[in-house]
């Protein structure tokens, strides 16, 4: 999703995890540069500490994809204003990320219409 399409009052928390056999170390500078927007903050989660926090508040069977063992990955979740991680489920979650761009754009299109 380009910077032009995303709303300005958006924050992106990108959490990298070692999932594939080739994920030997934390993401390199070129990998981190894939998310170059200033609204992004990036994390490396080698112990998968975040996955259970997110999973705890998801409806059963959601998002229906993208589990590596017990760890969630390759997903994008939207938390609307007021929602808290660790207390509330995301408003929308989908994966794989590459296949979720149309749905993500639709979500922001809908949110824009609602305001």
């Amino acid at each position: 999703m380009s910077s032009k399409a995303a709303p300005p009052h958006l924050r992106v928390f990108a959490v990298w995890e070692p999932i594939l056999p080739t994920d030997l170390t934390s993401p390199s500078t070129p990998v981190l540069a894939r998310l170059s927007d200033r609204r992004v903050v990036q994390f490396w989660d080698p112990a998968h500490v975040l996955s259970p926090v997110l999973a705890r508040h998801l409806p059963l069977g959601e998002p229906g994809c993208c589990l590596a063992g017990n760890y969630m990955w390759d997903e994008v979740a939207i938390f609307p204003p007021g929602a808290e991680l660790g207390r509330d489920p995301p408003q929308w979650i989908s994966g794989p990320v590459a296949d979720s761009m149309a749905g993500l754009r639709a979500q922001f299109g809908q949110r824009k219409s609602a305001h």
């Binding site: 709303p7 009052h9 958006l10 924050r11 992106v12 928390f13 990108a14 959490v15 990298w16 995890e17 070692p18 999932i19 594939l20 080739t22 994920d23 030997l24 170390t25 934390s26 993401p27 390199s28 500078t29 070129p30 981190l32 540069a33 998310l35 170059s36 200033r38 992004v40 903050v41 990036q42 994390f43 490396w44 989660d45 080698p46 112990a47 500490v49 975040l50 996955s51 926090v53 997110l54 993208c66 969630m72 990955w73 390759d74 997903e75 994008v76 979740a77 939207i78 938390f79 609307p80 204003p81 007021g82 929602a83 808290e84 991680l85 660790g86 995301p90 994966g95 990320v97 949110r111």
Partner: protein
């Protein structure tokens, strides 16, 4: 001046060293986030609470949470 017998061998060795050096830098070199972003932070059980607090401190904004793998 002595002649290099197999110049192609020297080129091959130099290329191999360059590839290994790039791989080492890629794997173990410094990780720099793009301009305007804070440094990459490693999540642990100890600082997970801080991550949640940071995420929830932005609760006046819509937030995207991305779970990704580097390769």
């Amino acid at each position: 001046m002595a002649r290099v017998r197999h110049p192609w061998l020297a080129i091959l060795i130099a290329a191999g060293i360059a590839i290994v050096a790039y791989g080492a830098w890629s794997n173990w070199g410094p990780r720099k986030t793009p301009p305007g972003q804070p440094p990459l932070t490693q999540l642990t059980a100890a600082n997970l609470v801080s991550f949640e607090a940071q995420f929830n401190a932005e609760a006046n904004h819509t937030r995207l949470l991305l779970l990704l793998s580097p390769t």
